[in-house]
């Protein structure tokens, strides 16, 4: 089983990101479960969402306590919460930020993770460029498709199109592709 915890703030599409990730996994023939942390929802408040992906049906109903992937949509949360809690030793970290790991103050926290498992990407800026909106979720899903074998870009694109039909979906797909290419080094 692959477990994901997504941290962000209300309005950034954290819950949508978890839903689209589960749909992408479903599109690949996998079982997936996505659910939010059910806080009082308001713009700017910390929001957490969870995803589980597995080849077998998923029965667990607890929040994700030991994630294999941590997506941080808002780097200002590093000072407010213990985001790394429970992260597995071979886990992945994907951070939406223009800053380096050192400037973010998380260099030590991610030092022991395998090579290529930690990525920072200016997802909000990419989202502005493609969507004219500060919602980094599609960008981050595209980036993760480049980081691991768990998600395929085509499945992510299909999930985005289902969530946002028409032109909005096209723009989100373009943003996800741009992120995918930038991580793979061919952008």
């Amino acid at each position: 089983m692959f477990q994901v915890r997504i941290h962000g703030r209300g309005g950034q599409g954290v819950v949508s990101a978890s839903q689209m990730m589960s749909v992408a996994a479903f599109n690949q023939g996998l079982h997936a479960q996505a659910f939010p942390s059910f806080g009082s929802e308001r713009m700017g408040a910390p929001v957490t969402a969870f995803v589980r992906i597995d080849e077998a049906p998923i029965e667990l109903r607890e929040p994700v306590l030991d994630p294999d992937l941590l997506i941080v949509q808002d780097a200002t949360l590093f000072g407010a919460l213990d985001l790394f809690s429970g992260l597995t030793q071979t886990g992945y970290v994907l951070v939406n930020s223009q800053q380096s790991l050192r400037d973010l103050g998380i260099e030590d926290a991610v030092r022991s993770l395998p090579a290529g498992h930690v990525v920072t990407i200016a997802a909000t800026e990419l989202a502005w460029q493609y969507l004219k909106r500060p919602t980094p979720n599609s960008v981050l899903l595209g980036a993760f498709a480049a980081m691991s074998d768990w998600l395929e870009l085509a499945a992510v694109e299909q999930a985005i199109q289902e969530k946002f039909p028409g032109k909005v979906g096209d723009a989100n797909v373009a943003a996800a592709r741009a992120a995918f290419s930038s991580i793979n080094g061919d952008g």
């Binding site: 749909v23 079982h31 479960q33 059910f38 109903r61 929040p63």
Partner: protein, 418 residues
């Protein structure tokens, strides 16, 4: 067809496949996406011949359902938490009148203090209202049980409440095998009411009944509930035959038959419990679980038979009756009759507190050694409770307990980070 979808949307589409003629809802918190999605299906024309009534309160929602059902229409509504309490008079009336309304309850806590999160307090507040109450473990069961609920309601002339965990199921996206219309039509025939208001053949529904007949009417309600025990099992079997999957009947067993320790529970928490039970069984522990799927009627005989050979029973539930403790635990005790099996009552997950594997491991490790107290509150912060009790006993104006505890916990957090 396999689809990845939110629990609420899946239930809305399942209800739509049942061709309700009237859906009456109050769309504001506490509510789920179910009624929003049904509203869209009606507006888009995907759910034909259905009157969708947006009403001004939960009381009005169920009252409209009562009227529509008495006119012979297949009728549906959904609510949760305080919404159920606000319609409570109509909840009793629906059952008392024998009207086969189907209602989804997206289970949530009841205030005060205000809390929007999941537990089973709302369902337990209505356990004696005369409705059939079915609990589901997964969103697939939620989809399937709604289809069975209409059939069951109309066969028995009793209203059916489908209880699904608020947020944990209603807001979870997962894989659903959505039935097709032909399958549903095969399983669920057109509604043929047992009683109907008809201007051409006027009758009274809801007459005043005095002491001369009230006991008989009430006895009949009890009798009908007990008869439904058989109907639920028969229809579950028929569902299996038509839809090709087992969505369960009165109870669901997970190695419960021959286990020394049996965990009894309600709703979706069984998923996490199963995971811990698998670990314990791998270690050689004789442990299983039994999920109660029908809270009303309560399958007393079946539960007693399945538990009588156990060495101990652990009843884990997301509700509590202040002054006595576990509610499901009382039902299990009653079901065991004269069998002297020890029952440990565990209260867990109140107001949305996560029930985690680490907590369940600690709990069941102690339970299998008979080291658990007879009533146990999972993950209770007893230091904080004691602090508030000291405050209250000080004799001064100690203030509201909930706010005091929040302030304490906030202070503790600040001292950790500061």
């Amino acid at each position: 067809m396999l689809r990845q979808m939110e629990g609420s949307h899946a239930v809305a589409e399942s209800v739509a496949l049942c061709r309700p003629r009237v859906v009456a809802c109050y769309p504001i918190t506490p509510q789920t996406h179910i009624v929003e999605h049904l509203g869209m299906l009606v507006k888009r024309g995907d759910l034909a011949d259905c009157e969708y009534i947006n009403v001004e309160s939960e009381f009005a929602a169920l009252s409209a359902c009562i009227g529509a059902s008495a006119m012979g229409a297949r009728t549906y509504t959904a609510t949760a938490s305080q919404g159920l309490l606000y319609m409570m008079e109509a909840v009793y009336n629906t059952a008392g009148l024998g009207l086969p309304v189907v209602m989804t309850l997206g289970n949530r806590a009841i205030g005060a203090p205000i809390n929007i999160w999941n537990d089973h307090s709302d369902a337990m507040a209505a356990q004696n209202a005369g409705w059939i109450q079915l609990f589901v473990e997964t969103n697939q069961q939620a989809v399937d049980v709604h289809i069975q609920a209409f059939r069951l309601a109309e066969t028995t002339s009793l209203p059916v409440m489908v209880c699904m965990d608020g947020f944990i199921l209603t807001h979870a996206h997962e894989r659903i095998d959505m039935p097709d219309q032909a399958q549903v039509d095969r399983f669920l025939p057109a509604f043929e009411p047992q009683q109907m208001l008809d201007p051409d053949n006027p009758v009274t529904i809801g007459a005043m009944v005095g002491p001369e007949a009230f006991t008989e009417v009430r006895y009949l309600a009890h009798h009908k509930q007990l008869e439904a025990l058989g109907t639920i099992e028969e229809q579950a079997q028929e569902f299996r035959d038509i839809f090709g999957r087992d969505s369960g009947g009165l109870v669901m067993s997970h190695f419960a038959e021959d286990a020394e320790t049996v965990v009894v529970t309600l709703g979706s928490v069984i998923g996490t419990i199963k995971s811990v039970i698998s670990e314990l069984r791998d270690r050689g522990e004789s442990i299983g679980a039994l999920t109660i799927r029908s809270m009303r009627p309560f399958p007393k005989t079946r539960v007693g038979r399945m538990l009588k050979n156990a060495r101990r029973v652990v009843v884990l539930e997301k509700a509590m009756a202040a002054g006595i403790g576990g509610i499901l635990a009382q039902h299990v005790r009653w079901s065991l009759g004269t069998y002297s099996v020890p029952i440990y009552s565990v209260i867990a997950g109140l107001g949305g507190r996560p029930i985690t594997r680490p907590s369940l491991r600690r709990l069941l490790d102690r339970a299998v050694k008979d080291q658990l107290e007879l009533t146990h509150f999972l993950d209770l912060n007893i230091e904080e409770v004691d602090r508030e009790l000291v405050r209250q006993r000080s004799g001064a104006l100690s203030g509201p307990a909930a706010e005091n505890i929040l302030r304490d916990i906030g202070a503790l957090r600040a001292s950790k980070t500061g």
